[in-house]
Amino acid sequence: MTPRMSPKRRRLWLLVGSLGVLGAAVALVLTVLNDNIVFFYSPTQVAEKHPGPERRFRLGGLVEQGSVNKNGQEVRFTVTDLQKTVPVVYRGLLPDLFREGQGVIAEGTLGPDGTFTARDVLAKHDENYMPPEVAKALKESGRWQEGAGKK
């Protein structure tokens, strides 16, 4: 007969074992659902997936420098992931953090001409925090990296 484990050891192994199985199950589920958990598509992913004109999705990336064009209520800008770009047209109010070079997420549909018609625009904040003087100094010294934290 095998030597008997003490109840405490047995409970400990039972616990470790169940947590391991549970962890593996959750990891599998999350991997399978990966496409649904993703909050937005980058311009490169949009180019790969070719979502139909009826499908609403979120497009995320950086607002390209110098691309913002305001015409009354209508705003036109280009979203880039530094590889591909998508032109966006939007009518409505923009959030405070919306500016060129900053992250943005637009929800809407992609037209047949490749223009994304946004019904909702959210600004994405990056993970950098600093006082205004520091940002100014970084820009002046040329050490500023636009969208450095953006994936």
């Binding site: 405490k8 169940s18 959750v26 909050f39 925090y129 600093m130 934290g149």
Partner: protein
């Protein structure tokens, strides 16, 4: 005689907590005062967010403590189920509502920050959703531990929930890396050091220390109460 044995460890905890609580409470008040002064007065505005950045000084430590509190619940759950540690169940009962409050504060302050900055109070991205799940896990723990007439059955059921829910902690932490989210990626606890300027990082860390002290004090006081309550119940039953 069995009940005396069960009280042995809680009694030692009680003697210990009554010795350290006055010191810890004083330290909490002091560090919190300094932290709030640094966060609300001393620290500069952010170059993008302006004054709204100050919400972070509450939001981020609350998120950390909500997660640390849940890790504590899971550790206490293991201590109860594996080693039958008598204090673990009482401390878990004491800690769960405190952690739930920190999770709620994190969600509410984040929402208030999101409205002006992102342009929305709430989105269902991976980080926000997993954090909301943490809040619900806390509520489930509180409800489950009180769901049975026999308090010990409730303790064990809640301990199992705490251990199952611990899977959510890495999901919260790495949600911003595994999936793209509206929530920004980690600024402090990441490879390559924090991307927060020291003028903003220092108040954040002082506030984190203050809220950690507050968490410890609240859990200790509440654990004392739970010990007293269990003793009263035992005394009533013995009559």
């Amino acid at each position: 005689m069995a009940s005396l044995h069960v009280l042995a460890n809680p009694a030692r905890f009680r003697r210990f907590s009554q010795k350290v609580l006055p010191v810890l409470s004083g330290a909490t008040a002091l560090v919190l005062a300094v932290g709030l002064y640094l966060a609300l007065v001393e620290s500069p505005p952010d170059y993008q967010q302006g004054e709204t950045v100050r919400i972070m000084f509450i939001h981020v430590p609350s998120a950390w403590l909500a997660m640390a509190g849940y890790a504590l619940l899971a550790g206490l759950g293991a201590a109860l189920l594996v080693w039958r540690h008598p204090l673990a169940a009482l401390m878990a009962r004491a800690a769960a509502p405190v952690g739930a409050v920190f999770a709620a504060v994190c969600l509410l302050t984040g929402s208030l920050w999101g409205r002006p900055m992102w342009g929305t109070y709430w989105v269902w991205d991976a980080r926000l959703t997993s954090m909301l799940l943490l809040f619900f896990l806390y509520l489930g723990h509180i409800a489950l531990s009180r769901a049975y007439d026999d308090a010990e059955r409730g303790d064990r059921a809640a301990a199992i929930l705490a251990l199952v829910g611990v899977i959510n902690l890495p999901v919260i932490k790495f949600s911003v890396d595994w999936w793209n989210t509206l929530h920004q990626p980690a600024s402090v606890m990441k490879l390559g050091g924090p991307s927060i300027h020291p003028a903003i990082l220092t108040p954040l860390m002082v506030m984190a220390a203050a809220l950690l002290l507050l968490f410890v004090v609240l859990v200790m006081v509440r654990t004392e109460t739970e010990i007293d309550r269990r003793r009263l119940d035992a005394a009533e039953r013995a009559q």
